[in-house]
């Protein structure tokens, strides 16, 4: 039984298909790593999986409360402390305890610091700690290791392993090797083709609008 699966999915950016014919499924305990050059549409795919964007064609099958999404921005408020930031998201997602998350991402010593005073790496860690308090099974992560140093990457990889080991799953777009037992999914072959004249394009003028 897969936690999240997509069937014949086409995702679009600005009304233009970027990836098409995607089929994939992620079950408990799995880590799926998306690879592909910049601009290939990894972010678009992840945002579609998170339900922020409608699918252009095909669909995503998942329970509505499956996905915890972490994008390029961490959603932190500079004037709130680390605890306040994390407690807020925990509250929004149904009041999970924040202490394990603080401990896991090594944030305990920074607890009462305003998030605005953290270094880029520390902010990122706090942003990822948020995933732990959502209580959602599938983590959808977009370049999570940006601005993390080696030690922090290891902390992060450990957190993902723990989460997956406890019956979760993760879909991660990244360029680096995180040392997981992962399934690699290269999006390049699914690039929507615009270099050829698509038949449907000329058949109906409507197509030009999609």
């Amino acid at each position: 039984m897969s936690l999240i699966s997509v069937k014949d999915l086409t995702v679009s950016r600005g009304g233009m298909p970027v990836l098409e014919g995607l089929n994939l499924a992620v079950s408990k305990g799995e880590i799926l790593v998306l690879r592909g050059p910049n601009g290939a549409g990894k972010t678009t795919l992840l945002r579609t999986l998170a339900g922020l964007q409608p699918a252009y064609a095909g669909g995503v099958v998942a329970d509505p409360e499956t996905v915890a999404y972490a994008g390029h921005a961490d959603g932190l408020k500079a004037t709130l402390t680390v605890t306040e930031n994390l407690a807020f998201w925990a509250g929004v997602y149904g009041g999970h305890d924040i202490t394990p998350a603080l401990a896991h991402f090594n944030l305990e010593s920074l607890k009462s610091r305003p998030a605005g005073n953290l270094s880029a790496g520390q902010k990122r860690r706090l942003g990822l700690a948020r995933l732990m308090v959502t209580g959602r099974p599938v983590w959808v992560l977009d370049e999570p290791t940006v601005s993390l140093d080696k030690a922090s990457v290891a902390i992060f990889a450990e957190a993902v392993k723990t989460h997956v080991g406890a019956g979760g799953a993760a879909i991660i777009a990244t360029h680096i090797d995180l040392g997981f037992e992962e399934t690699v999914f290269d999006v390049t072959p699914y690039k929507a083709r615009h270099d050829v004249v698509r038949n449907d394009f000329d058949e109906s003028f409507d197509e030009a609008f999609r």
Binding site: G14, G15, M16, G39, H194, F205, D206, A208, F209
Partner: protein
């Protein structure tokens, strides 16, 4: 009589729309020009002066049709925006976009001709009369709607957001109309000179006015078809350019 609704929608399919408007546009253009010129020439040259208002009665042939169009065009935009929201019909929302510029111009004409007419009648160009004020507010709504279209790059996003604005704006436009009536009634007792056709305008003025109204309606149809055609082409152009950009990567 049974109406085949699907066939009706077909007329607004972009490709079909382009083909029938291609043939219909010249017809509408000629009719519009004829009626417009006829109405205004009749009104300007061949109507007597009003015993009380003198020659200013001739301003009616501009003011009444433009004022009617100003309101009706917004109503049309509301309907086409709703069609877009419900049926995702691209031609519909592009027609709304095309109509906005015409509606704003009509509102401006109604305001200016109203002000010019008001000078000899009220002794001032501008009076915070409920009607004039409501048109000024309507002009603000048109400007806001057009500005939102201009500000958003993605055409589908722009279509969605402007349609929502049109919907909410319509409610507030009606609210404003009542609020303005209420507001001015509180200050001035007795309404200002009413320009309702049935009250002041006798047949000798009303017939040329009807022709002028028909002229304005036809002019609007011609322009909105022309501008919608332009917008459809612009959308296709946008799609082609996006494809080129993606293909280059």
């Amino acid at each position: 009589m049974a109406i085949n609704w699907n066939a009706l929608w077909e007329w607004a399919n972009p490709r079909k729309f382009m083909s029938w408007t291609d043939r219909a546009l010249p017809v509408f253009a000629v009719l519009a020009a004829l009626m417009f010129v006829a109405g205004l020439v009749w009104g300007f040259f061949f109507t007597p002066d009003d015993y009380r208002q003198g020659a200013t009665v001739k301003i009616f042939y501009l003011h009444v049709p433009s004022a009617m169009m100003a309101i009706n065009i917004w109503a049309m935009m509301l309907v086409t925006s709703l069609i877009w929201i419900v049926r995702r019909h691209h031609v519909s929302v592009l027609a709304a976009k095309s109509a906005a510029g015409i509606g704003a111009t009509m509102t401006l004409i109604a305001l200016i001709t109203g002000a010019i007419w008001g000078k000899p009648m009220w002794g001032t160009y501008w009076e915070w009369d409920p009607r004039l004020t409501s048109f000024l507010i309507l002009l603000l709504f048109y400007i806001g709607y057009m500005a939102l279209w201009e500000a958003i790059d993605n055409p589908d996003t722009a279509a969605d957001l402007t349609s929502v604005l049109c919907l909410v704006g319509s409610v507030f436009a009606i609210l404003s109309r009542y609020a303005v009536l209420f507001w001015n009634q509180g200050l001035h007792q007795g309404a200002s000179l009413s320009m309702d056709a049935e009250e002041n305008v006798a047949d000798v003025y009303w017939y040329p006015a009807l022709v002028a109204i028909a002229g304005f309606v036809l002019l609007f149809i011609t322009l909105v078809l022309l501008r919608t055609r332009t917008e459809i082409r612009a959308r296709r152009l946008h799609a082609l350019e996006m494809r080129e950009r993606v293909a280059e990567q």
